[in-house]
């Protein structure tokens, strides 16, 4: 059951922080500042951040950065990180060539 969340709640205004230049999502080179700015633009879930910024959309699919982003989001929204649903993991587990993925049909024949 999803928790009811009003997207107009006041979380203050975006204030730059000294380490905003830090790259958080290494695959897509998204900085902490970009993530924080998007949160103030209304992206209040990990899935929305991912769709808006491409965090966790690169080759590693968020396996490196998702925990860190969860922490940033929880701090900005002033809630526990336990309240945040993780973004969905998707097949395939590792990037796989089209020719290999498309070759499954003949397996049993």
């Amino acid at each position: 059951m999803s928790k009811i969340r009003d997207r107009s709640i006041d979380i203050g205004t975006y204030c730059p922080q000294p380490d905003d230049q830090l790259i958080i999502c290494r695959c897509e080179e998204i900085t902490k500042g970009e993530i924080r700015q998007a949160i103030y633009d209304g992206m209040h879930t990990l899935t929305e951040l991912r769709r808006f910024l491409r965090t966790g959309m690169g080759p590693c699919q968020g396996q490196s950065c998702s925990k860190i982003i969860q922490g940033i989001l929880a701090r900005e929204l002033k809630i526990s990180h336990l309240e945040l649903e993780p973004a969905m993991s998707r097949a395939p587990m590792r990037p796989i060539e089209m020719s290999v993925l498309g070759n499954e049909v003949k397996g049993g024949e």
């Binding site: 928790k3 209304g42 879930t45 060539e97 089209m98 070759n103």
Partner: protein, 375 residues
Amino acid sequence: MADQADVVIIGSGVIGNATAYYLAKKGLSVIVIEKASDIGNGGSSRNGGGVRQSGRHPKELPLAIYGAQHLWPTLSEELGVDVEYYQEGNLRLGKTKEHLAVLADIVEKGKAGGLELDMVTGDQAREICPHLSDEVIGASWCPTDGHANPLMTTLAYYKKARQLGVRFITGEGVIAIKKVRGKAREVVTANNSYVGDTIILAAGFASRKIAASIGIDIPMIELVMEVLVTEEQPKMFYQMLGTAAADFYGHQSTHGSFVFGGSSGHEAYHRGDDITATTSMTAPCICRGIMKYFPQLADAKIVRTWAGAIDDCVDHIPVISHVEEVPGLILACGFSGHGFGIAPTVGLLISEMAAGEETTLDVSGFRYDRFKAKI
């Protein structure tokens, strides 16, 4: 607790968000209610991003043309977010004589509706997009079609509407719409109720159950389609692609990845419990389809696959309509898998309907009471 606004919108998909934005621009107060935790979690964030006029139903075509001419080209600027819109044309590809017949029919219908749309030979198609295989013997070509990023578009409308004061509530599933003194007025959820002078139902397939709470039924089913995305690739082309055989559709994004959607033939026979779950069968099937047209992509790596549902209306065009039995209710559902491209136009039209204004385009073809039995 009763929250009140001029307009209450059920569903934060691209249609709901676009409508909210255009209403807020008119100065109306709006509340958007979303069942999921995430904004735009249905088909709006799961589609292939086509902004296409070709291949449209004659009733839908004017909406698509209006969007391509008046709304999409300036949308990024208007919303302050790059929605990655490309107007580089659409090729619908054919490999057999039967395919060419399908395409010729599409071309004829498009031309009748005033669209710039032509048949081209396989070689002409390869001049437009040099990466196509020799199996392609012909295509339809619409130079003013294009594509955009559905994730960015949906969230850009959300961001801008929110800035203009629209209230968005997520995690709030609607149970029923209730009449007060003969007029739709109250939207009831598990714990709350929201009151609006106008209620807009734009909840995809879920609209059917919600509409039933007030005695209205729209004949639609839920189809599950899948999409896959490759790793970043060198820039190859920016046309939108489809096929006469409907093997796949897709494009290369700003990021460089290819986004391809398709199906396995089992769309209507999904498990039903989680429509966002992918199957082991569909993505390989899409890959096989793509490689026949683009052999060069055989080594491109798939990084991610996902699924989403289509609210497929019995006549495959949407319902965009006031409801005579329920004054104050506007239906916007049944987009049948091609709602994204016309979403800005539809949002504009619904905002005009809700504000009691004359609509820019005729919407009488999308009435809720158009459905007739076969005998």
